[in-house]
């Protein structure tokens, strides 16, 4: 019995339990005792008790039985010998599993041939393609595995349905005028909300851990010293299997490029964004605001790859030609440069800065403005001397959040900044960033276990740590700012 069918039946039991529960609770309400909970709460409680434990059990059972099946197949496979025809044990097991999956497509009463060579055309007729190194001895194991799996599935379905029915009956038995079904549902809601909020946190932990293990295996072949303090980035691309050649993985040029481009972007985005936020919050009439603000936020909705294309196709060549025209000869701005990438990224970040700062400036209490205006200050004096200082911690927080976006930005720099890992102070030359190199190292047919690929995880983890620290500092500042009034 498939898990999906079991799930559907469990939900159906729950729905029935809901209606029965509601019916019963309504019948109990004869006016003699004031009921504690309204009828539909009893219904919901019955539904939840019928469905939730059963689904949890089903999930655990499904995961557990797949582990069990793996071990079972593993045990049934013959001892590996030096001349085994398949590369690894894990591959063996997965071959058997796909074979078993294929066999399930065949009619139950087909007599199976004993060799794979005969079996393959039969399966191919059913549209099942199998790897050619499937061995003859795997066929009986696959048949056996199918039998075990269907037994496990049936047993799981039976106990799941039993638990569901038991849950429903337990809840229905509890129904009484003074039963606290409402509080029970409330408690379960709380657990549901808690589970939802934990998912994001657990995922973050999972991401960090998965990168951590790859990073550790990277540091087994390259010393952390030469990674963090190396000034040369030259990973020497080695195609899969060739092995041997060891490159240099110096983080410094990438880190410098990342920070340099982010700095240029912030130099563009912060003044423009802040000034537009001040205009929006303090001067714009409601009519203007209702047009300009959404228009500005529309900028934030443009995919960054589009900004990248704009940078590399339009702005980059334009700046190069402009600089060539200025000097009358060779251009001093390269087609791909820190300046171009930073400029376009800055434009992308303007709505981020302005929308965050707008919220912060609007949050400064009206009493502050009135106090200053009431003393005979002009609007701009009020903004400069009262509102911006009051909003400053929040604005700094907003800038830090923006900076971490700039550091993590990928598509614009992939297209506009170039791939050359230079160390330069000239903003008109190409430089590359951590994100660009992650993309470079992970694309292409590199051997996965080579340091050339694994370095991407080390870079990713470094980037994560960098933005994490910035976000924590930003949140700390924003929180401190919130305590200021009241």
């Amino acid at each position: 019995m498939s898990s999906l069918l079991v799930l559907a039946i469990v939900v159906a039991i729950g729905v029935v339990a809901f209606f029965v529960g509601r019916q019963r609770a309504a019948a109990h309400d004869n006016g003699a005792v004031k009921p504690h909970s309204r009828a539909h709460y009893h219904g919901w409680w019955a539904f939840l008790l019928a469905v939730l434990p059963a689904i949890l059990l089903l999930a655990v059972w499904t995961i557990g039985s797949s582990f069990y099946l793996d071990r079972h197949i593993h045990a049934a496979l013959p001892e590996r010998t030096a001349d085994s025809k398949v590369a690894s044990e894990a591959l063996d097991v997965s071959l058997v599993k796909s074979l078993a999956k294929g066999l399930r497509q065949l009619d139950a009463n087909t007599t199976l041939p004993t060799t794979f060579a005969e079996l393959q055309p039969m399966l191919a007729a059913k549209g099942v393609a199998l790897a050619s190194d499937t061995q003859d001895y795997m066929i009986p194991i696959a048949v056996e595995a199918n039998a075990v799996q269907s037994r496990l599935g049936l047993f799981g379905a039976v106990i799941t349905l039993a638990l569901s029915i038991a849950g429903a009956f337990y809840a229905l038995r509890q129904i009484a005028p003074r039963a606290r079904a409402r509080n029970n549902v409330e408690k379960l809601m709380l657990w549901g909300l808690l589970a939802a909020s934990t998912i994001a946190i657990l995922t973050t932990v999972g991401i960090v851990l998965s990168m951590l293990f790859q990073t550790i295996s990277f540091f087994e072949s390259v010393s952390p010293m030469s990674f963090f303090f190396g000034t040369v980035w030259d990973p020497r691309f080695a195609a899969a299997g060739s092995g041997g050649s060891q490159g240099q993985f110096g983080l410094i040029p990438l880190l410098a490029g990342t920070l340099y481009i982010a700095l240029v972007a912030l130099l563009v985005a912060v003044p423009v964004g802040l000034m537009s936020a001040v205009y929006m919050a303090e001067y714009a009439s409601p009519k203007v605001r209702s047009v300009v603000k959404p228009a500005l936020e529309l900028l934030a909705g443009i995919p960054t790859i589009v900004y990248g294309i704009f940078a590399v196709v339009t702005l980059g060549p334009f700046l190069r030609d402009l600089s060539a025209a200025l000097t009358g000869g060779s251009p001093f701005i390269q087609g791909q440069s820190i300046f171009t990438a930073g400029l376009v990224m800055g434009i992308m970040l303007i709505p981020v800065v302005s929308s965050l700062s707008d919220d912060i400036i609007t949050a400064v209490p009206r009493a502050m403005r009135d106090g200053s205006l009431g003393l005979g200050a002009t609007r701009s004096e009020t903004i400069k001397r009262v509102i911006l200082p009051a909003a400053l911690p929040g604005i700094v927080g907003a800038i830090l959040l923006t900076a971490s976006r700039a550091i993590g930005e990928t598509m614009i720099v992939v297209l506009a900044a170039g791939v050359a890992a230079n160390l330069t102070v000239n903003p008109f030359e190409a430089m590359t960033t951590i994100t660009v190199k992650i993309v470079n190292q992970l694309t292409g047919d590199l051997e996965f276990n080579s340091p050339q690929t694994l370095v991407a995880f080390a870079l990713g983890l470094t980037l994560f740590a960098l933005t994490l620290v910035m976000n924590i500092v930003a949140l700390y500042i924003v929180r401190k700012y919130r305590e200021q009034y009241e």
């Binding site: 009439s285 106090g371 009431g374 003393l375 005979g376 001397r385």
Partner: protein, 274 residues
């Protein structure tokens, strides 16, 4: 009826003016009306504010007294939908005239708000804010002098003289309100408008601020909006009663609280108002 009262009052004032200088009319509202968008909040208010006296504006919530107060230094300008009709003069000069600089006007007619609103700056900087933007002090010593005398006039100097560099927001509510009064005084206004200055304060802080208002009367003209009848009776010389956007009656505080002309005033001050 209203016009009659107004007429006779003006005559009375005119007679007294020749005799007593403190009956000089500092500000005069002439048929003042205020609209918020389509809605009219204030109708044809004729009200005079006399020099070196405290004028109290009383009336139930939403009667237009705060609206009228905010007209006196054009704070209503900061509300987009607000529109003012009629004429308001300060020393015979129309404050809604095109030639009037509203920023300069607000320096002459200062304001203290309902909720204490010190800036998130030090106590010193709070008081120095106004003089600094108006360029009233050339040197640091002058500024120190202005800050000290303003804080003394606001009767808060002794409490804060050792902590001038600490944030103004760290003071207690009553101290904050006196700091705001000091801040208003620091730009040497001629008129100080107070919008329910004690409504966020406890009785002890209220008593201190009321005392202060009485002292300030020597040098400034004060208009105060209040919900407390006792406060109006204690601190003011003139009282104006507003209701539903109209000025009901205006007169000497003593008379208003003992023998008002209008039944609505009688009902309101005795607490019988709906």
């Amino acid at each position: 009826m209203n016009i009659m009262t107004e007429q006779s009052l003006e005559n009375a004032v005119g007679e007294k003016m020749s005799a007593k200088s403190n009956e000089v009319i500092k500000m005069r509202g002439d048929k003042v009306g205020v609209f918020y968008g389509e809605k009219q909040a204030l109708f044809d208010v004729n009200l005079d504010v006399r020099l070196n006296q405290v004028t109290a504006l009383i009336g139930p919530s939403g009667c237009g007294k705060s609206t009228f107060l905010r007209c006196l230094n054009r704070m209503n300008d900061t509300i987009d939908s607000a529109r003012v009709t009629g004429k308001i003069t300060l020393d015979e000069e129309d404050i809604y005239d095109k030639n009037i600089d509203v920023v300069e006007l607000r320096a002459r007619v200062g304001m203290v708000f309902q909720k204490p609103n010190p800036f998130p700056k030090s106590i010193y900087e709070n008081v120095a804010y106004g003089p600094r933007i108006h360029g009233l002090a050339k040197r640091k010593a002058d500024m120190d002098q202005i800050v000290e005398s303003s804080l003394k006039k606001a009767a808060i100097w002794n409490e804060v003289k050792d902590r001038l560099q600490e944030p103004g927001t760290g003071l207690s509510g009553g101290q904050q309100q006196r700091l705001c009064i000091a801040r208003a005084i620091a730009v040497s206004p001629e008129v100080i408008l107070m919008d329910e200055p004690c409504s966020a304060l406890d009785p002890i802080a209220t008593a201190r601020v009321e005392e202060l208002i009485d002292e300030l009367r020597q040098n400034y003209t004060i208009v105060i909006v209040t919900h407390s009848m006792q406060q109006a009776a204690r601190v003011s010389q003139r009282t104006a009663m507003f209701h539903l956007g109209y000025l009901v009656e205006e007169g000497a505080t003593d008379k208003m609280f003992t023998n008002p002309d209008d039944q609505r005033t009688q009902d309101y001050i005795t607490g019988r108002f709906g």
